[in-house]
Symmetry: C2
Subunit: 460 residues, 2 copies
């Protein structure tokens, strides 16, 4: 599944240059076939709008906030009225997600046909490389417009988003990994955990969950604050390891749909990502950055700052080897490998994400397109998950508060806060800060606190 993160000039979209062409961009989320915790993601997938080019057809689980669409397109320069938004009929239980059932709904097929009109479908892209998207492309007679169609159709999305398959392929590609193993059975996992525990804490990872929410740390010693994990479990004997795995196996394997990973937990490491675009032509580096956790994902810095060039080179090289390996087995689209850098400056790869990630629109559209050529040279982006304790009532109110405080993004100075997604339905809007350097970015980030921290007065 391919979405070009930038290269507007090189890849003219539906309306520009090719008036008879239609691109279909699908705002889906992690496949429901392997993960069923994602009903809340109706707002999260609206980041799709960042990728829209003139004339595109955007498929979303809910009608996107108009204020958000207007805001994003004002920054990307895509005329909002050139876009067609298609929302498949809601199905009970998947109102907030593009479930396989909704994407296969014949009423949706008719809506899409109407949106396409007389145009030729030149690209079917999706945030997540789901079999349901491959099926839809087949229905549209557009398999040739779907990069990597065969791979995705045969569940390749699961393979390129599985932590266990990652370890197999990464080891095969000679990419450095934390010591560990794939838990192909409870017995094998027990053996590996027990062996690793002699050297310190061990992290057990759910095959598919992300942002640290699928990680648990086992330790024989004192509890400590886990970073990138949801809890610490103390085990003092092999029997306790067995009992832990027995209790958690159903959860760790997503009900038998995946295989957990068992790994040495490396303390005091920093986390980085690197992303590549994998096309028929090969593999191209598109971006990199640092991942901040406390203990779950709280933000990102793009591009990554302060890394020794030699360390960054090892991150990029290892990531490229992974991307090349997946290219060879037929994956097409974004590949985002994650790494840790240890206190000894070892670079160890921890997972890959074969999907449009939560970083792609930041570096690929806000960075490359909105900020433009200066991104990564004289501008850095600090992206932030909406901080705990902050509150805002809506997208327009957030935008207004920013602008009144003079903190919104200014195209002239190429600095300021960009709202990166729609209102989260509760109390926040994800955002990023564009600044000259990281210190300036954090300073601007702190300036937001009075606007949104609970108890603080909204500016008049």
């Amino acid at each position: 599944m391919l979405i070009l993160p930038a290269d507007r000039a090189k890849a003219p979209a539906s309306g520009t240059g090719h008036p008879r062409a239609a691109r279909i961009l699908i705002g889906n989320d992690f496949s429901e076939d392997v993960r069923t915790d994602r009903g809340w993601t109706g707002w999260w997938v609206q980041r799709l709008v960042w990728f829209a080019e003139p004339g595109d057809i955007l498929v979303l689980p809910v009608r996107p906030e108009e204020a958000f669409v207007e805001y994003v397109t004002s920054l990307t320069g895509t005329p909002p009225d050139s876009l067609t938004i298609v929302v498949p009929p809601a199905h009970a239980g998947s109102e907030g997600t593009l479930s396989p059932g909704r994407l296969a709904d014949p009423r949706f097929a008719r809506m899409l046909d109407e949106a396409i009109g007389e145009r030729e479908v030149t690209q079917v892209s999706a945030l997540w490389p789901d079999t349901a998207v491959a099926r839809l492309a087949r229905t549209l007679g557009a398999t040739g417009a779907t990069p990597g169609h065969g791979f995705i159709d045969q569940a390749g999305g699961v393979m390129v988003n599985s932590k266990s398959a990652f370890r197999t392929i990464a080891a095969g590609a000679g990419v450095p990994l934390p010591p560990g193993a794939v838990g192909i059975s409870p017995e094998a996992a027990e053996e590996s955990v027990w062996e690793l525990l002699t050297g310190g804490p061990v992290v057990v990872k759910h095959d598919f969950l992300s942002g640290g929410r699928g990680n648990e740390i086992l330790t024989r010693g004192e509890p400590f604050r886990p970073i990138g994990a949801r809890r610490v479990v103390r085990v003092s004997s092999r029997e306790e390891v067995r009992s832990y795995l027995g209790q958690q196996w159903e959860w760790l394997t997503a009900g038998g749909r995946g295989r957990p990973v068992v790994e040495r937990y490396v303390r005091d490491s920093s986390a980085f990502f690197v992303e590549f675009l994998v096309t028929d032509d090969g593999v191209r580096l598109t971006g990199h950055g640092e991942l901040l956790s406390a203990p779950y994902a709280v933000g990102q810095i793009m591009p990554s700052q302060g890394l020794e060039p030699e360390v960054l080179e090892r991150i990029v090289d290892g990531g490229r080897r992974l991307a090349q390996a997946l290219h060879a087995i037929g994956y097409r689209g974004i590949l985002g490998p994650d790494t840790i850098v240890t206190p000894e400056r070892d670079v160890l790869f921890t997972e890959y994400n074969g999907r449009v990630t939560g970083s792609t629109h930041i570096y690929g559209r806000i960075g490359a397109l909105v900020v433009g050529e200066g991104f990564g040279r004289d501008r850095v982006i600090l992206e932030r998950v909406w901080p705990e304790g902050w509150s805002t009532p809506s997208f327009p109110a957030t935008r207004e508060a920013l602008e009144k405080a003079g903190l919104g993004y200014d195209p002239v100075t190429r600095t300021g806060v960009v709202l990166t997604n729609a209102f989260d339905g509760t109390n926040g809007v994800m955002y990023c800060v564009v600044a000259e350097d990281l210190t300036a970015a954090w300073a601007r980030d702190r300036a937001l606190e009075p606007l949104f921290a609970a108890g603080s007065r909204q500016p008049a």
Copy 2:
């Protein structure tokens, strides 16, 4: 996991030329982590002896039959007293297999150390690329002597022996497949089965079982004789499909350790295999043949006979693409893709086997080494599973019966019957017939019937 099927001259073994070198060959079977139906295979893995070169260390779950070792080495020319056989202490429940526990037993490590002596371990090979073998290689400090060690260590053996991973990678490599899907969830499998059923019978395949024993055919019409499947299930509604999958899901997924495959069942097809050796240097074709089923595997013909050159070329080309894809993700060893050839002469790939298969010793050692250069040119091999209803009391009795009847293999005429494995513990010995052509091979095969068919008189 690498075992060279031939190339004796190119790859000198332990004793020849490199007196200080030791190869360790491990007679293991399908990983117990994903498959637990293999306790009976103590005799089956004795085919390992065919691969032995002077000085090799052979690890087997049971002490191999001396008469079998003497017979095999008399044909391969490997001095039997140059071999060291190591049998790890038996563990309750895995007396007949090299379980992970037996391979990790410290007593076994000491036995192996003693067998190695002062020599350097130059190769650790196994029939099956199991994590337990990778672990053993680490214990021996011989990871560098284990081709593809990292991949195997991180459960690559499961990936290269899984029918679901096969479909993903094959589709990604652009290899032709029967229409179908990976059953990533019961719902996805139901959708695919129901869609395919409109076009005829559908085969549902267990991720890991082999020889047709993991295949069931669903049909909406009349029952028919299933080839390469264990039964036919009639379904007349989507609810019945759902109910079938619900009942069978635990079995089809090997208790949640794999994903079933759903495929169009193509009637009246013939089945072929092709094998490649995947090394650091790349991919090399090692053999091909036809697979005979009635309804389970009953034999093989090597090399395949009577195929149009253009059809054989498509078999080899598709197989090579698969081997190259697995090379790119780090697999090293034998890769045996299977295909069917339809009545319309379509070549469709149905699975791959990343292991030393039941064909490798036949074409690679009996063909290439015992028969020699004429194999495939003026000699063909018909391999036979011991026929139902035949009976023999032991390996020596079988050999004697063959020789008395003048049917044993004759190195001068390069024709005759070769016993391919040890006594199966019940009533049979697998064998193959070397002959000038397939007609002559079947004639010689028929000549065996009076010797072993129940009720027939043993020759005096």
